[in-house]
Amino acid sequence: MRQIAPSPPPGTDAAVLPRAALAAPGIATPAAAEGASPLPAPAQARRAGGLGDAAWPWQLASFVLVLAAWEIAGHWPVSLAFPPASRVVAAAAEMALAGDFGRAYAVTLPPLVAGIGIVGITGVALGIAMGLSRAFEWFALPLMVVLQTAPIAAIIPLLTYFYGVSATSKIAAVILLAAPIVVLNSYRGIRNTNASLVDMCRSFLGTRRQQVTKIMLPHASGMIFAGLRLGVSAGFIGVVLAELLISPTGIGDLISYNRSIARYDKMFAAIVSILALATVTLSLLQRLENRLFRPDHAVP
């Protein structure tokens, strides 16, 4: 079974990728990346004769529907600890004006950025090395697979034995969550390079360096970027887990403190704020990915 990849890598013809190679769990595939997109492809929408570029009414309707259901459930009430959406919005505004979010994110974001930065450089390099070298693959692949399937929430508190309760523990948590995704996507991106293209390069007397730089890396770039995007998503989870499980600081402190004093409206506001930030960040990265690697899906 062979399948035409939806996004031909720059510099190559349409890539032909085996489905099985793309279907490894936790690996971003071009198809999976497309499915993960919060936006329906405008091209598809145009073909379907629907709303065309105007997907936003559907997104808005989705938000309104969820918020309305939340509001009703809050007034029902489902629980005293479950405030209606309107109260959460008011609490979010109050916290924003008081500078609570600003102070919290000033603590939460630096370890996240540092962790993603480290994974972005070393993780991609390791993934590429694994894709190019059997020795690296044998050495690192089992470790990455184990990390990917490990119950990280149980491991994160143990980080204090190595790094104490400092920001280093948070960076380590981000790396633990993000590294397997980034490394394995980079590895798969290289390893799934169309063999015909590599053969073609070789037949034109291309050197190994040219095979890598002219064929493999351009071919893998889409998956590497998709891995980085999913790594950022995992990094958000890692930093919040660390702040909840190791030392309540930043946004984790806002969540745990407000829960401890039964200010559930503020607790939900803090949770919604990190969800919103993560969603906006990932949407922007998705757009960038579409623009760079899948121009047929890019939103103008």
């Binding site: 005293l80 600890a81 403190y257 829960r259 401890s260 039964a262």
Partner: protein, 332 residues
């Protein structure tokens, strides 16, 4: 036809058993769900003894579960997933006007500011210094804030390191220089190296650490049970206060905490020999005096606003079961 006959006989047997009330006695026993934030250790023996004696007396079964934190216990109580919570619900009642009331004080807070004397010798030295406490929203954090106000200082940072045992290790290693520790652990550290570790002076602590609470509906629907529980807890705490060796002895007699590892079992009597003279276990079940002390503590810690007189005891406590239990136990 014979098959039908057998089927009819089996059906008749089932109906007969159902009509005669055949059932598993264990299944018929009513289960009361009790939630608390800590894993059960030998330090919890006073309440376990009280609960066990209440089980025998009232024919119920207490299912004690350990949840992650006090606020999770409170949520479980207001969501009716737990019948009786152990911890405190002051802030939840105040903020949410939750229909929850305390009914028995089990243990008072007793945390002491232990500092590394190579760096700090007085409260003034701690102005701008870091102070490590148990967790966000915990009694130790409230105490740290109270101590800042009482001594006219401001800590540089209040950091959160769960577990007295963990903070002891950090103090020994020198990575932590000031913390709040419970009574046994503070004694352990100061006796280990009295020159290096000292306890700064604190006012007498009378705030509550662990209180039994439940929804108003549960208390109203189970008055005899709640009163019996108060009586048995009173008896248990009085026995512990009269003889700190009693918890270890009663553990054997009642078959409690059978799986407790030997080092923890050996720690039971030394703990109570320290805790009892330290006044950790009140013998009156709390009540009005405890509630007012808690209001004062929460105001000093910045959790409550205004003055003690702004808060009504009956908004936070149901004194009925405790008063009835005190009358009953004192009569005997």
């Amino acid at each position: 036809m014979p098959k039908l006959g057998r089927l009819a006989r089996h059906a008749a047997l089932v109906v007969a058993l159902a009509l005669t009330g055949w059932s598993d006695p264990a299944a018929a026993q009513r289960v009361i769900r009790v939630g608390q934030a800590d894993t059960l250790t030998g330090h919890n023996l006073p309440e376990l003894i009280g609960l066990t004696n209440t089980e025998k007396r009232m024919g119920v079964k207490f299912n004690v579960v350990a949840l992650k934190s006090d606020d999770v216990v409170f949520q479980a109580v207001i969501n009716n997933e737990i019948d009786i919570g152990i911890g405190d619900a002051y802030k939840g009642i105040d903020t949410l006007k939750a229909p929850v009331r305390h009914f028995f004080l089990l243990r008072r807070v007793a945390y002491f500011p232990v500092v590394n004397s190579e760096f700090y010798k007085t409260w003034k030295d701690l102005d701008g210094a870091d102070m490590a406490v148990h967790a966000r929203g915990s009694a130790t954090e409230a105490m740290a804030v109270q101590m800042e106000k009482a001594n006219g200082i401001k800590f540089g940072q209040i950091s959160f390191v769960p577990g007295s045992e963990v903070r002891i290790i950090a103090m020994r290693r020198g990575t932590m220089k000031a913390t709040l520790l419970d009574l046994p652990n503070s004694r352990k550290l100061t006796e280990e190296d009295p020159k290096k570790f000292i306890v700064l002076p604190v006012e007498t602590q009378s705030a509550s650490d662990e209180i039994f609470y439940a929804t108003t509906k549960f208390i109203a629907d189970n008055k005899p049970l709640v009163q019996a529980l108060c009586e048995e807890l009173l008896k248990s705490l009085r026995a512990v206060n009269a003889d700190p060796k009693a918890p270890a002895r009663l553990r054997q007699e009642l078959g409690l905490l059978k799986d407790l590892p030997k080092p923890l079992a050996d720690d039971i009597t030394p703990y109570f020999e320290l805790a009892v003279p330290g006044g950790l276990f009140p013998t009156d079940g709390g009540g009005i005096a405890a509630a007012k002390a808690d209001f004062g503590f929460l105001i000093a810690a910045g959790r409550f606003k205004g003055s003690v007189d702004d808060y009504k005891v009956e908004d936070f406590w149901d004194l009925g079961p405790l008063n009835a239990a005190l009358a009953e136990v004192d009569k005997k």
